[in-house]
């Protein structure tokens, strides 16, 4: 009886694994195909489009794609993306945590009302704001500058919410005790709160960095100068210019995704926890 059950369970688990492996294959195959094609020459692709592996691993496609024709090149696009994502993330961490600190530790009139107003902005879809934001940036004279790429994204209601939730788990007595010890409010924020809040800072920072790295429609509309393009816009332009040079396009897609995938493997556990608890995508 016992043996029978464990056999059944074994069989059941094998089926589960088979199904999950099929699924995992479907998830991974496009990435494999991207990398495989990126090493193939155009004639190789035309002659035998279904070959799983390239004849030889040469990096010509990568070299050629990196220069991206007559444009500023992907070196510049990478610099822009990393620069914008880093400043945006730093801004998010500082500005959002300051606001979250006030909501979690200070008593002041209309606290709930102000918090709900900020939280309510999350209900406004980003795509509906493109046109008015574009006009506002035009009036500020910021179109086609780094300011347009960075400033609107240095704080978000989501980060404030995430951090406030975390801060509320920190005993208020700690704040009061540090005040009694003669520490200033800012002193508490820098010396006690921030060091205690590294987990939530990491989660919020990852969301912000990833969102900035992958954002497309915003940089597409607020910049037009080639030297201000970020990776995603550069890739879209490159795709339009190269059309059907699949080897080149897959090489460009590969080097545009690999840095993020590598980074993801390092932080994936933290990251997935963050999503499971906050239900947030980007």
């Amino acid at each position: 009886m016992f043996k029978k059950k464990s056999n059944r369970e074994k069989f059941f688990k094998t089926i589960v694994h088979i199904l999950l492996i099929i699924g995992a294959f479907v998830m991974l195959f496009p990435f494999f195909w991207m990398v495989s094609t990126s090493f193939k020459t155009q004639s190789e692709i035309n002659d035998n489009p279904t070959a799983l592996f390239p004849n030889e691993y040469n990096f010509n496609n990568y070299r050629q794609a990196w220069k991206a024709g007559s444009s500023a090149g992907f070196g510049r696009y990478f610099f822009n993306t990393i620069f914008v994502a880093t400043i945006t993330t730093m801004g998010q961490l500082i500005l959002s945590s300051l606001a979250a600190f006030a909501f979690a530790f200070l008593d002041f009139p209309h606290k709930e009302r102000i918090f709900l107003l900020l939280l309510g902005t999350m209900m406004i879809p980003q795509q509906a704001l493109l046109v008015p934001d574009y006009i506002i940036l035009h009036k500020l004279g910021w179109l086609d500058t780094y300011l347009a790429l960075i400033v609107p994204w240095v704080c978000s209601a989501f980060s404030i919410f995430l951090m406030r939730q975390f801060f509320r788990g920190i005993p208020k007595e700690l704040f009061e005790a540090s005040r009694i010890d003669g520490s200033s409010t800012l002193g508490f924020y820098f010396r006690i709160l921030i060091p205690l809040s590294l987990p939530v800072m990491l989660t919020a920072g990852m969301f912000s960095f990833l969102g900035s790295w992958n954002s497309f429609i915003w940089p597409l509309i607020v910049t037009s100068a080639d030297e201000l393009r970020v990776i995603q816009v550069g890739l879209a332009n490159f795709a339009q210019a190269e059309g059907t040079q699949w080897g080149l396009l897959m090489a460009a897609s590969t080097f545009c995704t690999v840095p993020l995938i590598v980074g993801y493997f390092f932080v994936q556990k933290k990251f997935i926890q963050g999503i499971a608890t906050s239900g947030m995508k980007d």
Binding site: H17, W33, I135, K281
Partner: protein, 292 residues
């Protein structure tokens, strides 16, 4: 006393205002600005007040209705399939198997990679002559499909790719929900002799319903805003077969520079999504709860 309260408010605002200014300026006030601008015609330079003309034009604009229809088709094609598939995968992952974190990482991979890059990869897979999908179809004796160049297939191709891209996110959410169901419920059901199907039907489904509802509304809202796939793979074509509402908005605002008319579209888009969010909050408060 009053003075003290004001002082407290002001000192709190010192911390809140730097961030709040950004949010209000770029993510809140613009929606009213969009409403204001929708009563005008013109680009960035001169604009003229035209009352509700932009809205009345929208009602008779066949392209707008087509884009709305295409978007609804995309949403219906994406959301239910994503929910069913991601729930199945989450259930499989939740069955105490080895290697959970490896599977989870793999299924989540498409979610973190940029939509632009994976769109190009899928465009290559969908390629009519050399694409791998058509080679596979021919291999099993079926006729090749012009996927992205056939107006009957282009949207379906985008839907398939989008399901692949977004699946992992919902798997994580469902998995978290499944892990939150108390084990005792299953244990006592087993003692009562309930089979797997009965446990699924009478425990899992009702217990997971708040998560399902959350996933349903969130995916509907984000699917309504689909853009990058369309931009990268079809540019709204062939014909206007994949012109979704945000692509139509983008085209009108930033290709044709009809900022007044596109403000009207943006505001309608806002109203649709805002209504869905409010609906979600109402239902979430009242109806969806654990049935036991």
């Amino acid at each position: 006393m009053k003075n003290k309260k004001l002082k407290k408010l002001l000192s709190a605002l010192c911390y809140i205002m730097p961030g709040a200014m950004i949010i209000l300026t770029f993510h809140f006030i613009p929606i009213f600005y969009s409403l204001y601008y929708s009563f005008f015609k013109g680009g960035l330079g001169k604009k003229t007040f035209v009352g509700i003309t932009n809205y009345s034009e929208l009602i008779t604009d066949a392209d707008f209705w087509l884009s709305l229809k295409n978007t609804v088709f995309y949403v219906i094609g994406t959301v239910p399939t994503t929910i069913v598939l991601s729930l199945i995968i989450a259930l499989l992952l939740n069955s105490k198997i080895k290697g959970l974190s490896i599977y989870r990482t793999i299924y989540y991979l498409p979610v973190i990679t940029s939509i632009n890059a994976v769109s190009l990869v899928w465009k290559w897979l969908y390629n009519t002559h050399n694409g791998l999908l058509n080679s596979m179809l021919e291999f099993i004796g079926l006729n090749p499909i012009s996927w992205l160049f056939d107006k009957n297939w282009a949207m379906i191709a985008i839907i398939i790719m989008s399901i692949w891209k977004g699946l992992g996110y919902n798997v994580i959410i469902f998995l978290a929900g499944l892990q939150g169901i108390p084990k005792q419920l299953y244990e006592s059901a087993e003692i009562d002799g309930a089979g797997l199907w009965h446990q699924f039907r009478n425990i899992t489904i009702p217990m997971i319903s708040p998560v399902t509802f959350f996933v349903f509304v969130m995916s509907t809202i984000s699917s309504f805003q689909v853009f990058a796939q369309v931009y990268m793979m079809t540019q709204g074509g062939p014909g206007k077969a994949t012109t979704v509402i945000v692509y139509h908005l983008y085209d009108k605002a930033f290709q044709k520079f009809e900022l007044g008319g596109s403000s009207a579209i943006a505001f309608v888009l806002f109203l649709i999504i805002f209504a869905m969010t409010m609906f979600q909050r109402k239902i979430a408060e009242k109806k969806v709860h654990y049935s036991n």
